[in-house]
């Protein structure tokens, strides 16, 4: 019986010809893409869960200010970590601190020098491997990764890069700046993709302590309450309420600081390790939104694929009605037929799956590119197979059961006359086509809106002129470099500032002005610049004057418009302003200039002259001579700092980087919308073919009676176009609503205009028309004598 069933299923599949090709091909594409998507979703949802006690590990976040000034940071001052690690906070089993490393970035192994990205460098407390527990140690001791104060921990990739071997324990690495030599204490397996910690060269926290030079009244790093640059993690005992731990830490701070200004104190909160990746410190689910969107798209694609399958299968059922009737007459029960049809579906799906696996293989490089994930998807992974088979079963359930049920229930007498399909099934098919095209139209619409928003962001007024500017990290040699470059003919302007604009400025709440409400914790960005920065970057002063060269303006401030608005200062020019212990006055107001992602508003910002803080040189080349300017800069660099590699970055690129997330969303959407539309068209193509086939006789008769070809094409296409029209009407408001929500994520957004609806609708109709008319024209051109005989 089973072999018989399988044999028949196979014959049916091969007899289906192009119908089977559409069915199998469409499903394969959908399965491949949605499995990849769901895999990505899974990856995002499992971030940091590879640590064995992940559910007991929390990061301590700090909260500053209240009301509109409220801010959450994902870090604490060092003493909070000290308290957490002391063993005196009830509920905390263990604690550790991680920090960024900005003290140096050039390392030497052998006689090769490497300039590392500061994102790859970090500090960690000596116990960090033990506290997290999930980082795999290849060589070295998990309990003591830094056996001496001059130890460093590397990932395998870094060990290979420096020493050509993963077993690098004991080999030495020199920090170029200080000539201090570090020996490798442990080598970690490369950190998994789904780790939110991904530094690759880790120095002991004790090194940071040694490099600490004091901050105001605080002489030791571990006493410094003013520097919030330590990501502090605690592992609580089972059953402990993390909020209690946070409360204790806040109390410890309040006692230690004993300040008269409670507004300056922070409150500590906890955030579970497993939520770090998808949630902001303030609980906002930014990351989860994209995960939801991708999950939704995967489901949409799967349902479009299922709809195709149901449509094509039930359309074909008309053809099979007679077979089903005969089977019933010779003794088949509905159950038998169900089984037969399900086996057929299963066979189709299994074939699709095989094809999908092939497609996935082809798409993996593209997937990596698109998602920025390096590892992850391998067909050797049993979990991948669980996924594939799961997707298959879900599809079978969604798409296989209904047609089988439907066909198995055919009335034998009617089916013997070739009339299995009743009006209501054709009705269902209409509903499905409408659904499918509504989804496709919605995706087209969304793609257009996203595209518009992206180009809007790209064309957005930045408030300054970023063309032909590159920046160099010059640290304490900025002024010397600037002087050397300033007179070159290929260089138009040189200026300097604390950091490169997009890499983030420091922020401070240590400000005072006359109208300030006492105790208000107001955060603002601060950046030291050279006196000509505002002017030569092409920024616009809306009030007051620029800095003057020399010492005269060392207590003068230029603030941006947002700062004036948020602080509530009227007539700011000449107003007293105090930043840290610099008591001075506001001399100018600069038009807001953009330096952060489009989702955020331009924050309040203050500029001042503090030349010793200016570690970044800005060079604007004259239009045609950018290459020459770079070459000159490199030559001068080589003369002055031969021990460091020459590195530069164009501001244009840096700003593109700011929009990378949005760019990726746009790319993904275009891709998925394309697939969805393609699959929908496959389905429509198949349905149109069936309709044409079913009406072959009618068309023949009409032609014999004198109908023109266009009238027949119209006759056959009209029905489908009506359905697509209905789809557009349904999809537009829903898509509008969804896109409006998406746009709300941006501080700067377009409004959706009517022509976007029109264009999306037109595209949907155009695509449908193309698909359907191919079949209609073919049918209309058929020789009427032949089509009559075929009956």
């Amino acid at each position: 019986m089973l072999t018989n069933t399988l044999k028949l299923a196979w014959r049916n599949l091969t007899a289906g010809g192009w119908y089977s090709v559409l069915n199998v091909g469409g499903l394969a594409v959908v399965l491949a893409v949605s499995v990849l998507l769901l895999w990505w979703v899974k990856d995002e949802l499992t971030f940091d869960r590879f640590h064995p006690a992940a559910d007991r590990i929390y990061r301590i976040n700090s909260r500053h200010g209240t009301g509109a000034d409220e801010q959450y940071w994902q870090s604490c001052p060092a003493p909070i970590g000290v308290a957490a690690m002391s063993g005196r906070v009830p509920g905390i089993e263990k604690a550790t601190r991680l920090a960024g490393l900005y003290d140096f970035n050039s390392l030497r192994a052998g006689n090769q020098t490497y300039a590392e990205k500061s994102n790859d460098l970090g500090y960690a407390d000596e116990n960090f491997l033990d506290v997290f527990g999930g980082f795999r140690v290849l060589y070295g001791n998990i309990a003591q990764p830094f056996p001496t104060p001059n130890s460093v921990v590397l990932t395998e990739a870094m060990a290979l890069k420096y020493f050509g071997t993963a077993n690098a324990v004991g080999k030495t690495l020199t920090v170029v700046d200080s000539n201090r030599v570090f020996s490798v204490g442990a080598v970690l397996a490369d950190l998994p993709d789904n780790s939110s910690y991904h530094r690759k060269i880790i120095f002991p926290m004790s090194l940071r302590k040694r490099l600490f030079t004091g901050n105001g009244p605080w002489k030791l790093m571990d006493d410094d309450w003013g520097n919030f640059s330590f990501a502090t993690y605690v592992k609580v005992a089972p059953g402990v309420d993390p909020a209690r731990v946070a409360k204790t830490l806040t109390d410890i701070q309040n006692k230690a600081r004993n300040t008269s200004e409670p507004g300056q104190l922070s409150t500590y909160t906890t955030q579970a390790l497993t939520t770090l990746h998808l949630y902001e410190p303030d609980g906002h689910d930014t990351g989860l939104q994209q995960v939801r969107m991708m999950g939704l798209i995967a489901l949409l694609l799967l349902s479009i694929g299922c709809i195709n399958y149901v449509n094509l299968t039930t359309a074909r059922a008309t053809r099979r009605a007679r077979e089903v009737g005969v089977r019933k007459v010779v003794g088949a029960e509905s159950g038998h037929l169900m089984g037969q049809l399900l086996v057929e579906s299963l066979l189709t799906l299994a074939l699709s799956l095989v094809l999908a696996v092939g497609l996935i293989q082809l798409m993996i490089p593209f997937y990596r590119d698109l998602t920025g994930k390096t590892l992850g998807f391998s067909l050797l992974d049993p979990q991948v197979w669980l996924f594939l088979v799961g997707a298959l079963l879900v599809t079978l359930l969604l798409a296989g059961v209904y047609p089988a049920l439907l066909i198995a229930r055919f009335d034998p007498i009617r089916s013997l006359r070739g009339r299995g399909v009743t009006g209501s099934q054709a009705g269902l098919r209409r509903v499905l086509v409408v659904t499918q095209f509504a989804l496709a139209t919605g995706l087209i619409f969304s793609t257009l809106v996203i595209g518009n928003q992206l180009s809007f962001l790209q064309k957005r007024e930045l408030g300054f002129n970023k063309t032909h500017i590159f920046t160099i990290q010059t640290n304490d040699k900025t002024e010397a470099f600037r002087k050397a470059l300033a007179n070159e003919s290929s260089v138009e302007h040189t200026a300097s500032a604390t950091t490169e604009l997009t890499s983030g400025m420091g922020s401070t709440s240590d400000t005072e002005w006359d109208e300030k409400t006492p105790g208000r914790n107001f955060m603002m960005n601060q950046m030291s610049v050279s006196h000509n920065f505002v002017q030569d970057m092409g920024m616009t002063l809306v009030a007051g004057r620029n800095f003057r060269e020399g010492k005269a303006d060392s207590l003068s401030f230029i603030v941006n418009e947002t700062a004036i608005r948020d602080m509530g200062i009227s007539n700011p020019i000449g107003k007293r302003f105090k930043l840290h212990d610099w008591n001075g006055q506001i001399i100018g107001v600069v038009k807001d200039f953009v330096f952060s992602s489009a989702r955020e508003k331009v924050p309040p910002t203050i500029l001042f002259l503090r030349p010793e803080w200016n570690g970044t040189l800005y060079v604007r080349a004259t239009g045609q001579n950018t290459k020459q300017a770079l070459a000159t800069a490199e030559r001068i660099w080589k003369q002055n700092s031969p021990q460091y590699p020459f590195e530069y970055r164009f501001l244009d690129d840096a700003y593109d980087q700011l929009y990378k997330a949005e760019q990726r969303t746009g790319q993904l959407f275009r891709f998925f919308a394309g697939i969805a539309i393609l699959i929908s068209c496959l389905g429509l193509f198949g349905l149109a073919a069936y309709t044409a086939e079913q009406r072959t006789k009618e068309i023949g008769v009409r032609k014999v009676l004198g109908a023109s070809i266009p009238s027949i094409v119209g006759l056959l296409s009209k029905d489908f176009l009506t359905l697509v029209g209905v789809a557009i009407v349904i999809a537009s408001p829903v898509a509008w609503w969804a896109m409006n929500n998406w746009l709300h994520e941006f501080a700067y957004q377009i409004s959706i205009e009517w022509w976007v609806f029109a264009l999306a609708g037109l595209l949907a109709v155009g695509i449908a028309l193309l698909t359907v008319s191919f079949q209609s024209i073919r049918a209309a051109l058929m020789d009427p004598v032949k089509s009559l005989r075929s009956e």
């Binding site: 005969v326 003794g331 029960e333 007498i413």
Partner: protein
């Protein structure tokens, strides 16, 4: 034993209501060969479908070998039908995707006959209908006569007590038609009850008696002498 009492069948569509059968009383004894005749549209096929348990009457009783079946559900009818009735149609109704052998084997598969026995019985039926040499052909590769012989082989393979034939010679030339009628005659001689719808008085001559229908009613019955 087949007995219908005042059998009614109404077809209600949106506009019209057709009375296809209007009070049919009919008895068919075991081993009988009955022909049903009448003008087109008088209800012959409808009656045969109900007798064959493919459809339910709208009203009246139908006793099928001692069981009252007129109110049965489709599922119950299917159970009862299985293995006890063989059908032969004017348009053969073979499954195009199956070979001759597989078509004939089908009823036995649904009866879950063991493989060994299945093989013997299919071959027996094929030999008997003189179609064995075409066993691996698909229906489209056969002549009309061969297709109908395959259909009869399929109808008899499960050894049903009743064979229903709806214009079995309608699509065949006279030579092939004659052959089919002889086969049905032989089956009847061996004890199978046969009810056959036909337009051909010649074919009706093979039956013991002829029931004439008109407008859903039995008008006359001729008994062959």
């Amino acid at each position: 034993m087949i007995q219908t009492v005042n059998l009614q069948k109404l077809f209600a569509t949106e506009e019209v209501e057709t009375t296809a059968l209007n009070g049919i009383n009919m008895d068919v004894k075991d081993g009988e060969f009955v022909a049903i005749m009448g003008p087109s549209g008088c209800g012959k096929s409808t009656l045969l479908n109900i007798i064959g348990l493919l459809d339910n009457p709208s009203d009246g009783q139908y006793n099928f070998y001692g069981t009252e079946v007129s109110k049965m559900t489709e599922r119950e009818r299917a159970q009862l039908r299985k293995g006890s009735i063989g059908f032969v149609f004017q348009s053969f109704n073979l499954i195009d995707e199956l070979t001759v052998y597989e078509n004939v084997e089908l009823p036995l598969l649904y009866l879950k006959t063991p493989a060994e026995e299945r093989k013997t019985r299919v071959e027996e039926a094929l030999n008997r209908m003189n179609i064995m040499h075409r066993r691996n052909h698909f229906p489209q590769q056969l002549s009309g006569g061969q297709q109908q012989r395959t259909a009869i082989a399929r109808a008899v393979v499960a050894k049903p007590k009743l064979i229903l034939a709806d214009e079995p010679t309608g699509n065949l030339d006279s030579k092939n038609g004659e052959e089919v009628m002889k086969l049905l005659g032989e089956l009847n001689d061996e004890g199978t009850t046969i009810i056959m719808v036909t337009h051909s008085p010649y074919d009706a001559g093979f039956a013991h008696r002829t029931v004439n229908l008109f407008d859903g009613k039995v008008v006359t019955e001729n008994i062959r002498v």
